[in-house]
């Protein structure tokens, strides 16, 4: 193994980043994992320092260190603040891949891998159950599965299989219906988008999934795909062209839910007229915000709803704190994940909002766990739910 350690990292010239790190510590106090423990072993700075020694001595990552590395939500706050512009997101992904090379992937990551390979979804469930989310909107979706259309809706594994998240998909379907949009969904042909592999640094394993999805979408003549899940959106929008070349996605647009709503508003197809008397605090999902620089559309939607008051938390947009749900932390370190989400909820509570909102099923899961364990009065609603309620759908 000796000479092979950190091979891919070195190939991508990312090994030198551990030396470039200035040890300024800027990344520490924005890191949810560091803030959870206040031990530098848990901070990006601390991890880079340890890796630098391993890389220098050509030693593999030991199991206990691998565990610590996975205590990370991949929220990207470290990259955003980094003194020396280290591409930390890519770096952590590569390091997770390296951890797989030395056989120290956490059990839950191995489970996800097996599940995706065998069942094409992250829950190891039958693909026949993919359309569970449509139960309450059967009348709208029933005849939309696998039909050719210009607009497609990609629900993603979480919304598809987890009953608690289904309302996000339902609300989106209701909006399509309200707008009279002919849309399609892939049904059983919707597989995992591959996001867990990107998060775990195994791009190669996601290639097949990407190719499958793109060929399905092309077969149905899709020109625009709408996502509620920023993880799936980023997979299609960034990782697929990165893996397969930019021409692979030509002719298809991938847009998050908020952007879709804004477009409808701008085209005059959607107007909010009813009062929605709530104070809402907006949480920027990491995969949409810091990872893709998309911040404004959701706010534009919220501000267009009469009666709705948007109150920002102290840390928003590129400085937003993480919900605790990213980077597979929910699976690898569920308790830490809940504590992180509780901290974000506390910030939302400070604004006096009665609703905490975001556009992300992962954030919804995290926040609902946090709200329960914190016994908070605040309610979480996905943007799609707010829009549907505001329109009286």
């Amino acid at each position: 193994m000796g000479s092979k350690v950190f091979e891919k990292l070195k190939k991508d010239a990312l090994d030198a980043e551990t030396l470039i790190c200035a040890r300024c510590g800027f990344c520490t106090f924005v890191c949810p994992a560091y803030n959870d423990t206040l031990w530098d072993s848990q901070s990006p700075r601390g991890k880079l320092y340890q890796l630098r020694e391993l890389i220098k001595n050509n030693k593999p990552i030991p199991a206990d260190f691998a565990d610590r590395i996975f205590k990370c939500t991949l929220c990207g706050a470290c990259q955003e603040i980094c003194q020396t512009n280290i591409p930390l997101l890519r770096f952590w992904q590569q390091i997770r891949q390296e951890i797989n090379e030395v056989g120290h992937w956490p059990e839950v990551v191995k489970f996800l891998d097996n599940s995706i390979q065998e069942s094409k979804n992250i829950m190891d469930l039958d693909q026949e159950d993919r359309t569970l989310w449509t139960d309450m909107v059967d009348d709208i979706v029933e005849d939309k599965i696998g039909v050719p259309a210009k607009v497609a809706y990609f629900a993603g594994c979480n919304i598809s299989f987890k009953g608690t998240l289904a309302p996000i998909g339902e609300s989106t379907a209701k909006l399509f219906d309200h707008l009279g949009i002919e849309f399609t969904t892939l049904g059983e042909n919707e597989f995992c988008c591959g996001n867990p592999y990107f998060v775990a640094g195994e791009w190669d394993k996601a290639k097949e999934l990407a190719e499958h999805h793109l060929s399905e979408l092309k077969r149905l003549g899709v020109e625009m795909v709408v996502f509620n899940c920023p993880g799936c959106h980023r997979a299609f929008n960034e990782e697929y062209p990165h893996m397969l070349g930019s021409e692979s996605t030509q002719g298809i647009e991938f847009i998050p839910y908020s952007e879709f709503v804004v477009r409808m508003m701008k085209e005059g197809k959607l107007k909010f007229t009813q009062e929605y008397n709530h104070v809402v605090s907006w949480h920027d999902p990491c995969e949409l915000g810091r990872h893709q620089n998309i911040y404004n559309e959701s706010r534009e939607v919220l501000n267009a709803i009469p009666g709705l008051e948007l109150r920002e938390m102290k840390h928003t947009k590129n400085k937003a704190d993480c919900c605790g749900g990213g980077g597979l932390l929910k699976g690898t370190n569920p308790l830490m994940s809940v504590r992180i989400s509780e901290r974000r909820i506390a910030s939302a509570e400070k604004t006096g909002a009665d609703i905490l909102s975001s556009e992300c099923p992962s954030c919804m899961m995290s926040f609902n766990d946090g709200i329960e364990s914190k016994n908070s009065e605040i309610k979480f609603k996905d943007l799609a739910q707010i829009v549907a309620e505001a329109l009286g759908l």
Binding site: I20, A22, C24, F29, L38, Y49, F65
Partner: protein
């Protein structure tokens, strides 16, 4: 190395969750931002034996009492963002990291002061004060990660210092746990404590007037010894709470101007200091600009000599100052850049190390130089460090000095050349002194400048506190007070082995070369057979032990001063 029992006792004091003696943790709490040449790591005991993160002043006190009794060195630590070696262990021991003591205890709008835990991070404090309509007078550009206590202990100037002075001018009072475990308030220490240190003090002072002047600065009570703890680098105790002066939160207007030549830039800064009162006045040299360009972070300015000038105040006062700014820039042939560029550079005020990517190592050094001598200083540096890649930046203080920071690019993977390059950081300060400057901060590497930095009187008073509370110097040893170095076990063993082998070998060779001559005087010493070789080996061991004793008493100042010419020469050869 601490014994298991000692580690357990320390863990019991601080709490298991806030204590670690894990190998990786010890390393993580034993560095600062400077990369140490490998040799230093080999020579000194630069790795702490354990890390403790106390939650209260009482716990700190108990920790110190235990360490003092057991002769365990203690290194106070904020967040390790300094680069002067102050937070580095030199004799192993316990690193006491303060970031868990991060509360805001009091915000007093009447007296415009706040009391905070020493471990609070500046950016968190700034954020929380914002809610109260307040802000601090100055903060370091490491604000996103450095602690209030760390900056107080390291000393220095930062953003806001052009108008309000350095950290010293902000601090009103400190809670300090002295090395003997006693908890005092520096603005009002117990009388018996003052009496005991004043006794010592008089020996070092010429007369009463001088004494009163020394501590009566900034119109404080005679009983107030706060200044002695500011920039004392954790040698006089652990700072646990800090009372700071604050100001109302007002508008900040950042403006940027660029110049073709350094003289124009310096004239403009002199004009600005005469006509306006900037909150922050900072410059970068064309060299710095060039490096920023290489890493894709250079602003799109007209010229490469750049100043960032931020005004603070009401809208109307700022408008007035902005007018004067534009005049000063115009008068000195500069170009006032766009507002967008101003905002960009203001946001970049926290990022002096963007250029590190070009290294990948960066050796820093800092010195205060009067603004009027800056041109000469820059030219002196250019000449002295010819052939080295380096960049300068500087920030003007309220006293008209400039804190000039040098960044020398290097590559720590080139072990020898990197070690030799160390002379630059030391020489840089000497260059500054030649232009009427003074050291910026002491820590460990600048310990040779302690006397001039603190002044004779202040250092004497600090020394008397040290003598009274820490006679064995367990508290942050080899910092500020240039005590002897204590070499690592590895290095001592090396000296012993080298001596034990060298003596018989030398005597054997001598016997071959000039045996006839020597046998007339010291025939018993010559190595001719196994028996005489064993005897010489024994003598070698004795010489080795003696050498260890001597070397372990060599003060760090001696090492740094004597080593510099060799490093300089070595660098020329190996670079």
């Amino acid at each position: 190395m601490l014994r298991e029992k000692q580690l357990q006792a320390l863990a019991d004091i601080v709490g298991e969750d806030h204590f670690s003696a894990e190998e990786y943790m010890r390393k993580l709490y034993s560095h600062d931002v400077g990369a140490l040449p490998g040799l230093v790591d080999d020579i000194l005991k630069t790795k702490a034996d354990a890390v403790a993160q106390p939650m209260s002043s009482e716990i700190v006190s108990n920790l110190l009492k235990f360490c003092r009794k057991n002769k365990i060195p203690v290194v106070p630590r904020g967040h390790g963002t300094s680069g002067y070696g102050g937070a580095l262990p030199t004799k192993a021991g316990v690193s006491i990291e303060m970031t868990r003591m991060n509360a805001i205890y009091d915000i007093d709008h009447d007296t415009m002061t706040i009391e905070v835990g020493a471990g609070i991070i500046w950016s968190k404090l700034l954020e929380d004060l914002e809610d109260e309509g307040l802000t601090v007078r100055a903060y370091p550009s490491s604000a996103p990660s450095s602690t209030v206590g760390g900056w107080v202990a390291a000393g220095g100037t930062g953003i806001g210092s052009t108008k309000y002075g350095g950290v010293k001018e902000q601090v009103v009072d400190l809670e300090v746990v002295l090395p003997d475990g006693q908890i005092i308030r520096s603005a009002n220490p117990p009388q018996e404590f003052l009496d005991s240190i004043e006794d010592h003090d008089y020996k070092y002072l010429a007369n009463e007037d001088e004494y009163l002047w020394a501590i009566g600065k900034i119109s404080k009570d005679i009983n107030d010894i706060t200044d002695l703890f500011v920039d004392s680098n954790g040698t006089l105790g652990v700072i646990t709470k800090v009372v700071l002066r604050v100001i109302p939160l007002q508008t900040i207007r950042p403006l940027v101007a660029s110049f073709e030549r350094k003289e124009q830039m310096v004239w403009a800064m002199q004009d600005l200091m005469k006509k306006t009162k900037p909150f922050y006045l900072h410059f970068i040299t064309d060299g710095f600009f060039g490096m920023l360009k290489e890493v894709g972070m250079a602003p799109e300015s007209t010229h490469p000599w750049l100043i960032l000038c931020a005004f603070e105040g009401s809208q109307s006062s700022i408008a007035e100052e902005e007018k004067l700014f534009k005049e000063a820039i115009g008068d000195n042939f500069g170009v006032v850049e766009s507002d967008h560029l101003g905002e960009h550079e203001w946001a970049e005020r926290f990022y002096p190390m963007r250029i590190k990517r070009l290294g990948p190592s960066l050796a820093p050094s800092e010195v205060y130089v009067p603004l009027k001598n800056i041109v000469s200083f820059i030219e002196r540096c250019d000449k002295h460090f010819k052939g080295e890649s380096f960049a300068l930046e500087g920030a003007v203080t309220d006293t008209g000095e400039v804190a000039v920071l040098a960044w020398f690019l290097d590559d720590e993977r080139k072990t020898i050349s990197f070690l030799m390059g160390w002379y630059r950081s030391l020489d840089f300060i000497e260059m500054g002194l030649k232009d009427g400057g003074r050291a910026y901060s002491i820590g460990m590497w600048n310990v040779a400048h302690s006397r001039s930095f603190y002044g004779k009187q202040e250092l004497a008073r600090m020394a008397s506190i040290k003598r009274k509370t820490d006679p064995k110097r367990y508290m942050n040893p080899t910092k500020v007070f240039p005590g002897p170095l204590q070499l690592s076990f590895r290095f001592n063993l090396l000296i012993l082995i080298v001596a034990a082998i060298a003596v018989p070998v030398v005597l054997w060779i001598a016997n071959i070369l000039i045996g006839d001559l020597l046998s007339q005087y010291i025939s018993w010493l010559l190595v001719t057979d196994v028996q005489s070789a064993i005897l010489a080996f024994g003598i070698g061991l004795i010489i080795g032990v003696a050498a260890i004793e001597v070397v372990n008493w060599v003060p760090i100042t001696f090492m740094l001063t004597m080593g510099r010419p060799f490093l300089r020469l070595g660098r020329k050869i190996f670079h």
